[in-house]
């Protein structure tokens, strides 16, 4: 993991309640706009490495659509079986209308 921020997408592409998944180098990153915050986590579930992208986000938590494990978007912590391991979280910032992520 570097200390460098990479441009992710335009702020307008992730409105309140929205989310977007993109690959940065070899890492899938999911950025969510929830409770007036931008939170970035891995786009891959820690349970069986399936995509989290279509998971429902509510109250800073995301539910994996595959087997229903939930993760805290602020800490990456796994909240329910069948997941037990956390997912990585990434720093997010907004610079000149661009969302940037540090991967």
């Amino acid at each position: 993991m570097s200390n460098e921020f990479t441009r992710f997408c335009k702020l307008a592409e992730v409105p309140p309640g929205g989310k977007k998944a993109l690959r940065i180098n070899d890492t899938w990153v999911l950025v969510c706009n929830t409770r007036e915050r931008l939170l970035a986590v891995s786009g891959i579930c820690s349970h069986q490495a399936r995509p989290l992208f279509n998971g429902r986000v509510r109250n800073c938590k995301i539910t994996c659509p595959v087997h229903g494990a939930r993760f805290d978007l602020e800490t990456g912590q796994a909240l329910d079986l069948p997941a037990t391991k956390p997912i990585p979280v990434y720093e997010v910032r907004v610079v000149d209308d661009w969302i940037e992520v540090c991967v």
Partner: protein, 470 residues
């Protein structure tokens, strides 16, 4: 002379006695400026005998097992609110005892509830306490999957299962009905409809409240160290206000509250606020009553001028203040809402485990569930339901807050501190009551004819369900 004669006549019919020399709830409400609707202005009390009620129901684990066998599988209980599953594909896992159901929005107007068990080797499809969204329910063990509508989607290595007829492997469902924005389920396929179960009178009441136009602004869970029925019964009467909530008694018609029963499954009380408790008659002025008013969401009542005019009652002033403050605070139009609906505490029990409080000042829902393995514990939830903003937007329902044992309700974010203190006072008595019953020489509890009718009515329904399976 005449007063004594009247009182004796009044007391002669069992259950007819009311708090002496005090206005009734209906008389209090009749004096209000903005008149109350029909569902408030009615009475429905029936004397149900005065025998003690056996205490094994609270202290015997075998009784709890009978409840899991005969009561919970045959009654309507709400699993979640529609707002918890707003979009197609959304689901919410509801548990009662060891049973677990995935409540799913299959289409815009189609909500189903499936037994949360894989039909291969029994793994839970979704962990308890979770909610989310999906296009199919896939088991994490071998990958068998079901469509949203409950039909079988895939058997992995289908060649090995020629004996599995897909048509027979849909996820089993339970009955689902929607009412007031709540999603109710019933495990009994032959149960009466929810409307039949609740009865026509109550159905008229709940239609008037339009609870479907509210949203959950606060949701608190706490495990209580008492049997679920004791937990519920702590809230079924205002008789305990003087001793348990003395700070409330100064502005609560506690001993002259009104109690009603409706059919088998619904009962209620109306407890008027902004008036002095009969226990304190003569000790406080109208101004004192106004100054002490603490019920309700007092966060909305800061800084108002509270000096009463000549001849003005505390109750009327509180209604006026609340009307204005709530209109501003919730961005809704309350001109058609009566003073009583704004001020008073209306507490309804829907058998077996739901309380609805349709008043504006205390717009709450309680749900009670037995601990799955310990009859001496229960899961208690409080939800606040507030009107939707006038702009038509629907905020997301509040995230549940889980309080630890011994943690005060006032620590839950979004909980009004005055109300949180009241809940602490109620739960402090409950452990003593559970333990006291377990230490009791007396085999039954004794109930007041009028003020404790809801407890008797509730336990009669409990008995009927539990004994029906015997």
């Amino acid at each position: 002379m005449s007063n004594q004669v009247l009182e004796r006549k009044q007391d002669s019919a069992p259950g007819a006695a009311r708090c002496p020399n005090e206005p009734t709830t209906q008389e209090i409400i009749a004096r209000d400026k903005v008149a109350a609707p029909g569902w408030v202005r009615s009475e429905s009390y029936e004397y149900m005998g005065d025998e003690d009620i056996s205490i094994d129901r609270y202290i015997d684990p075998a009784y709890a097992r009978k409840e899991f066998d005969n009561l919970w599988p045959r009654t309507w209980q709400f699993a979640c609110r529609e707002e918890h599953i707003p979009e197609v594909g959304d689901y919410y896992v509801y548990d009662i005892g060891r049973r677990s159901f995935i409540v799913t929005r299959v289409a815009e107007d189609d909500i189903r509830a499936y037994y949360n068990t894989c039909l291969h080797r029994g793994t839970k499809l979704r962990a308890s306490g979770t909610e989310g969204s999906t296009s199919q329910f896939k088991c994490p063990f071998h990958g068998w999957s079901w469509n949203l509508d409950g039909t079988l989607n895939e058997v992995v290595c289908e060649w090995d299962f020629p004996h599995v007829n897909p048509a027979e492997y849909s996820l089993p469902q339970v009955r689902v009905e929607l009412l007031g924005g709540f999603v109710f389920i019933n495990m009994d396929r032959d149960a009466p409809t929810l409307a039949e179960y609740l009865g026509p009178e109550f159905m008229a009441h709940i239609k008037a409240w339009k609870l479907e136009d509210r949203y959950v602004t606060c949701h608190v869970y706490k495990t209580i160290p008492a049997n679920w029925k004791l937990n519920m019964e702590a809230f079924m009467e205002a008789y305990h206000v003087m001793e348990t909530h003395p700070q409330v008694a100064v502005s609560n018609a506690d001993a002259n509250s009104q109690y009603d029963t409706y059919g088998e499954h619904v009962n209620r009380f109306i407890s008027s606020l902004g008036v002095l408790s009969p226990h304190l008659r003569g000790q406080y002025t109208e101004q004192d009553v106004l100054d002490q008013f603490t019920i309700g969401d007092s966060s909305m009542l800061g800084g108002e001028d509270r000096k009463l005019k000549e001849g003005e009652t505390a109750r009327q002033r509180m209604a006026d203040i609340m009307r204005e403050m709530f209109e501003r605070g919730t961005n809704t139009d309350l001109s058609h809402v009566s003073d009583a609906e704004l001020l008073d505490c209306f507490s309804y029990t829907l058998f077996p485990n739901t309380f609805l409080f349709p008043g504006i000042s205390l717009p709450m829902v309680y749900r009670f569930r037995p601990h799955p393995t310990d009859h001496r514990q229960s899961i208690y939830e409080v939800m606040f339901l507030r009107p939707l903003p006038q702009d038509g937007s629907r905020p997301e329902p509040a995230e549940p807050v889980y309080l630890r044992e011994g943690q005060s309700f006032t620590e839950a974010e979004g909980m009004d501190p005055g109300f949180g203190a009241i809940l602490d006072q109620d739960t402090e008595n409950l452990l003593l009551q559970q333990e006291g019953l377990e230490a009791s020489a007396k085999p039954g509890i004794t109930l007041g004819n009028y003020q404790e009718i809801r407890v008797r009515h509730f336990e009669r329904a409990v008995d009927r369900y539990v004994e029906a399976g015997a």
